[in-house]
Structures are given as structure tokens and as C-alpha cells.
């Protein structure tokens, strides 16, 4: 395990270099993306449609968006990663988990940079300096477990069934819209009379509690509910365990399949 820590570090460096090669703004591009989305959605929901009656709405949006962008970009980048590195898999013996894991880690780095920039803004604008903030590292760690587990799974699945990536790309857009990024589930006008729909949106979508939890801490300045914390803990660990198991099961013939 220890001997491969250095490998992992090297792989992450290689990914980072490849990702930002030849771009003048480099890592900044990945910070621009959520900001642009934030501006557009704030305009639509708060100004044009006037459905969002939320104080400091852009900040509310931004916090949800950076969680979503991390989640979706990591999966989209991890899915083809084994295929892209086929020659490596076929010619060198090393733990193949390192490939999707390093891709997901690169996305984590971007996410953390964003978080470090957004946190002081949120604390200043919302006045949310609260002991609950101490929960943030734990929530982020569990979110990474969740994303890492799914990254391993989609990467190895895509290596065997090449339409996993397009299916994933197609699914992420509707998934985005049913994730409580624009409004909290309880604030959605349509769920008042249909409690089951609210429950489904809240608990049926595994990324939703992560969005809620990060937003509770940063935007609302309160600790997430015990239910939320339990959910993110179970979801994070289950996804990681399941992802690792699936990867181990399916990686056997990778050198032949790719």
C-alpha cells in the first residue's frame, strides 16, 4: 500500500499536467464554470421567473453548484479513463485503481480550491461562522468517498461496456434538474401537497443530501440534521465499498478487454 502512494502522487501530477496543458487560465477555467452557471441560473430563477425567494440567492446557488460540478465532472472524467490509458493497462503491472482514483482526485483538488474561495465569502455575507463549520471536512471526506466509489465503478464498467459514458452523460442533465440546487426540496411549490414526491427528491437521489449538508453548514450556518449526516456517511462508505468491490471483480481481464 505504502509503495504505491508515490505512484498515486505521480499519477495525479500527470493528470493535472495533462488537464491544464496549453491553457492560459489553467485551473481558473474550472472555477469560471460554476460561476457562469451561477450567473445564468440566478438570472432565470430569481429575476426572470421570480420563483426563488431566497436571500443571497447567487451564493445559495453557487454552493450547490460546486458540489454538483465536482460530482458530475469527476464521473465524466473517470468513465473513459481506463480506455484512454489502455496502453498502460496492457503493458505495465500496477494497481489499476490508480487511474480512475487519480482522475477523481484531480477533480477533488479543483473542488477544494473552489471551497476555499467560497467559504470566507459565505461566512462574511451570511455571517455563518458557527461550530457546525467543523463538520465541513467530514462531509467533504464522505463526499469524496462517494465520488471515488462511483468513479471506480463507472470506469471499470465503461471499459467493459463502451456505452456507459454516453449513458452517464445523458443521465447527468436530468439528474442535475432533480437535484435540489435551485431550491431546497421543502421550498418547492409542487411538493406541498405531495409529500411522497418531496421524500423521493430528498432521499431517492443520493447526491441531494450531500448538497444539502454542504449548504446547511456554509449557507445556513447550522449543522445538518442527524438524518442527513447518517445518510451521507452510509452513502459515502457504501459507494466506496461497492465501487472497490466491483472494480476488483471486473478488472481481472482488463488487459484483454481494452
Amino acid at each position: 500500500m505504502f509503495q504505491y502512494r508515490f505512484l498515486f502522487e505521480q499519477m495525479v501530477r500527470r493528470e493535472l499536467r495533462q488537464k491544464y496543458k496549453g491553457s492560459a487560465l489553467g485551473v481558473l477555467w474550472y472555477l469560471v464554470n460554476p460561476l457562469v452557471l451561477m450567473g445564468a441560473y440566478a438570472l432565470v430563477f430569481s429575476v426572470l421567473l421570480r420563483v426563488a425567494d431566497v436571500p443571497d440567492y447567487p451564493l445559495f446557488l453557487l454552493i450547490g453548484l460546486i458540489v454538483w460540478v465536482f460530482f458530475s465532472q469527476a464521473l465524466l472524467a473517470a468513465a473513459p479513463s481506463l480506455v484512454t490509458n489502455a496502453s498502460l493497462v496492457r503493458k505495465v503491472r500496477f494497481p489499476r485503481e490508480a487511474i480512475p482514483a487519480s482522475v477523481a482526485t484531480v477533480q477533488l483538488v479543483t473542488f477544494l480550491v473552489m471551497l476555499v474561495l467560497v467559504t470566507p465569502v459565505a461566512l462574511a455575507v451570511r455571517g455563518t461562522l458557527d461550530p457546525a463549520l467543523a463538520l465541513l471536512p467530514l462531509i467533504v471526506a464522505l463526499l469524496f468517498c462517494f465520488v471515488l466509489g462511483l468513479s471506480l465503478a463507472v470506469a471499470v464498467l465503461h471499459a467493459h461496456y463502451r456505452d456507459v459514458e454516453p449513458v452517464l452523460a445523458a443521465a447527468l442533465l436530468p439528474w442535475f434538474f432533480v437535484t435540489p440546487i435551485f431550491l431546497r426540496v421543502e421550498d418547492l411549490p409542487g411538493v406541498d401537497s405531495r409529500a411522497w414526491l418531496g421524500d423521493l427528491l430528498q432521499w431517492g437521489n443520493p447526491i441531494a443530501p450531500f448538497v444539502d449538508a454542504v449548504r446547511d453548514v456554509l449557507y445556513a450556518g447550522v449543522a445538518p440534521s442527524a438524518g442527513h449526516m447518517a445518510y451521507v456517511a452510509v452513502a459515502g462508505l457504501l459507494a466506496l465499498g461497492g465501487g472497490v468491490l466491483l472494480f476488483r471483480r471486473m478488472e481481472r481481464d482488463l488487459a484483454v478487454t481494452l
Binding site: 504505491y4 501530477r13 496543458k21 496492457r90 503493458k91
Partner: protein
């Protein structure tokens, strides 16, 4: 029971590839056609292969394309799992199956040394201790700090080999790489390999180039259709390999430029001293080229010609002789008491023409001649002789100086 450091073990190893299934499927295929089709083709890359290599030994794997050489290496490296049996390399293994596999294009040569070392399971300190040796060996100079995407293929090769050769592995698995690069670097690689072997490292080498195998290995394993066809000393092994190639490639082929010529070579054979036809000879052996000339019309003054060319098409030898009149068929032959060619593949081309016919495309039939490699000389012509070293002229023998 695990293998000792440097030991390589293959025990009743079998591996079958499903030609269709092993390409990745799409989800649609999975849903539409559940289970496997009955008509699926399979290839047995390894069939019950057992092999044991002792620490410090160098073994060359040869065989035709698809004989299972590369699969054997991939199984030994643990990259491709076996269906049954056991494959094990004792100690640290370095694979050189593809040059520059896993290089980061945007990484400098130096950064790639670290990345490549890490891929083979080495830690930062272990690599740091070797970096300067690797840089020096690669002869890359200032290029070592430039991104490898600007490298020429030769530089790529030098870096890849330098890294692998300096990660002190117990076992090195090398696929088809010594054939590339310039002569002087090749020689340096071979020297480095010998050095590693003296230090106790084990080599398993796959190559199509018999001379590379011969220079490094004392033992050769010939694989054919996933099985061991020969396992033993290098000279006999390469002969067995060439025999295998001769069988598969057909004895002669016609290169007749077109119909209409009145003269043709109907038959062509290479015969050994005992009069049996074959395609593989050793240098110094007796060889007779037997041909049957045919004529469709009367031809009075016929000349038969024979030419031996090397693999690049250069003429090594050429001769002709007046055959006289040919009506119907005439048998002719050219006998060599001693085949004066060194190891390699040659073409023996023969043809017949009327003496006054315009020169040009008269060669009619070509036989492939394979000469088994021997030690004691390199090149085309077998001019092997004995070296002797005497006292230089004018030198005063040491003992008489006082």
C-alpha cells in the same frame, strides 16, 4: 510455494482468448444477445505450458506471429491472468513490453523517470538514487528536461530502456525492443543486460531478431501454437525456429513477369547433402539447387542463371551457364560444396532465357533460403577464420628487459 527472487515459473499454464467476447461489448449487445454465441472463435495462446527459468539465466522466446510469445510475457508479468495453471516471477519485476508505456506526454524526461519508476513499484528515494545514472545512460543531455512529446522515437527508446535497465529488478521481461535504436546504443543495451545478468537478474526476451536473441541468451524456447516446441541451447533452438518458418512459408514462389515467355522454370528445390529438399541450412553445409527448365517451343541456346539475394534485395552472388538446347524439359542443378553465407534469410532466384534475348525480367522462380545463425562472425559472407595474436613487431618481451 512462492518463487525465489529471480526465478520465473510457468506451471501448466493455459490461457484462451475469446476473439469475439474479449472485445468490449456494448450494453445493447448484452441485452439483445444474452450469453455467448455458439460460433465464437477462440485462440489458445498458451496450452499447458510449463517453463522454469533459474535466477541469472537469460531465455529467448521465439515463434511465429501468434505463437503465444507476447501472451507468455503478459501472463508472467501478471498483466493477463491465466485460465489455469501458475505463473510467477520471484522478486521485483520490470516489464519492457512497450517503450514509453505510461509516459506522460507533457512530462519532461526527468519527470517520466519518476513516473515510470513509480509504475514499477519503486518509491521516491529509490528512484532519486538512480536518476543520474539513468540520465547519463540515456545520452539525452539537455533534452532530459524537455517534455517527451518533443522527443524523436530514438530518444524515446533510449529513455525507456535506460529506466528499465536501471531499476534493479530481479526479473526483466522484454518484448521486441532491442531491434530498434541505432547500432551503438543497441550494443550498449546488450552490455547493460549482461551486466544485470552478472548481478543475478533473470531475463526473458521476446524477439523476431535471432541475432539479438543469440547475443543475449544461451537458452531458447520456441513456441508454436501455444505450446513449447523446443527448449534448449540457442543454436539448435534457432535452427528449430527456422525450420518452423520454412514449413509455414511454402517452398518456392513464382515471380514470372507474364505469360508469353517460351522458357520457364517449372521446378526449383534446395537439396541437402543427402538429397532431401529443405529450406534451412547451416553455414558450411553442402547445398544443391535443382531446377527443371521447360520450354514451350524449340529453344536452341538457353542460358540458366542463378542469383542469391539478401533480405534487402542486394545481390550476394550471381552465376549463369549455357544449358544448350531445350525441347520439353531439362533438369539442371548448381551444387555448392560449402555454403558460404552467414545466418539470415536469403532468396535464391533462378531463371532461363535464350542467349540473345533482351536482358531484364527473366528470373522466374524464387526459393527462400534460411541460414541458421552461428557465432564467430557477423554479416553476409561466411569468411570465418581463426584469430591469432602475436607479439607486436619491435616490442621487447617483458622478461628480457632487465
Amino acid at each position: 510455494m512462492s518463487a525465489a527472487p529471480g526465478e520465473v515459473v510457468l506451471e501448466k499454464a493455459s490461457r484462451r482468448f475469446h476473439v469475439r467476447r474479449d472485445r468490449s461489448r456494448t450494453l445493447k449487445e448484452l441485452v439483445v444477445r444474452r450469453g455467448r454465441g455458439a460460433g465464437e472463435a477462440t485462440v489458445d495462446a498458451l496450452r499447458d505450458v510449463s517453463l522454469r527459468v533459474e535466477p541469472g539465466e537469460a531465455v529467448g522466446l521465439v515463434g511465429r506471429n501468434g505463437a503465444g510469445k507476447s501472451s507468455t510475457l503478459a501472463c508472467l508479468a501478471g498483466i493477463v491472468p491465466l485460465d489455469s495453471g501458475r505463473a510467477e516471477c520471484g522478486g521485483r519485476v520490470v516489464t519492457l513490453l512497450e517503450l514509453g508505456a505510461g509516459f506522460g506526454e507533457d512530462f519532461s524526461g526527468r519527470e517520466n523517470i519518476y513516473l515510470n519508476g513509480a509504475l514499477h513499484g519503486f518509491g521516491r528515494e529509490e528512484i532519486e538514487a538512480r536518476v543520474e545514472d539513468i540520465v547519463a545512460f540515456s545520452e539525452l543531455g539537455e533534452f532530459i528536461d524537455l517534455p517527451v512529446k518533443v522527443y524523436s522515437s530514438g530518444m524515446f527508446l533510449r529513455l525507456g530502456f535506460s529506466i528499465a535497465a536501471h531499476l534493479d529488478a530481479h526479473v526483466m521481461l522484454i518484448d521486441e525492443i532491442l531491434a530498434v535504436g541505432d547500432e551503438s546504443f543497441q550494443r550498449k543495451c546488450l552490455a547493460r543486460i549482461s551486466e544485470r545478468m552478472e548481478a543475478g537478474a533473470t531475463m526473458v526476451l521476446v524477439s523476431h531478431d535471432p541475432s539479438a536473441i543469440e547475443r543475449v541468451c544461451r537458452r531458447v524456447v520456441v513456441l508454436d501454437a501455444g505450446q513449447v516446441a523446443f527448449d534448449g541451447p540457442v543454436a539448435e533452438g534457432l535452427l528449430a525456429y527456422h525450420r518452423l518458418l520454412g514449413v509455414s512459408e511454402g517452398a518456392t514462389r513464382s515471380v514470372r513477369p507474364g505469360a508469353g515467355a517460351t522458357l520457364e522454370v517449372a521446378e526449383l528445390e534446395l537439396l541437402g547433402a543427402d538429397g532431401t529438399p529443405r529450406g534451412v541450412f547451416r553455414p558450411g553445409e553442402a547445398l544443391r539447387v535443382r531446377m527443371v527448365l521447360g520450354s514451350r517451343g524449340p529453344a536452341e541456346r538457353v542460358v540458366a542463371a542463378l542469383e542469391v539475394r539478401d533480405q534487402r534485395g542486394e545481390t550476394c552472388f550471381r552465376t549463369d551457364a549455357a544449358v544448350g538446347a531445350v525441347h520439353g524439359t531439362v533438369e539442371a542443378s548448381f551444387a555448392m560444396e560449402r555454403l558460404a553465407l552467414l545466418g539470415g534469410d536469403y532468396d535464391v532466384a533462378v531463371g532461363a532465357a535464350e542467349q540473345d534475348a533482351p536482358a531484364g525480367a527473366w528470373l522466374d522462380r524464387v526459393a527462400r533460403l534460411t541460414v541458421a545463425p552461428v557465432s564467430g562472425g557477423e554479416g553476409v559472407a561466411d569468411l570465418r577464420g581463426a584469430w591469432s595474436v602475436g607479439e607486436p613487431a619491435g616490442a621487447v618481451p617483458v622478461g628480457r628487459r632487465a
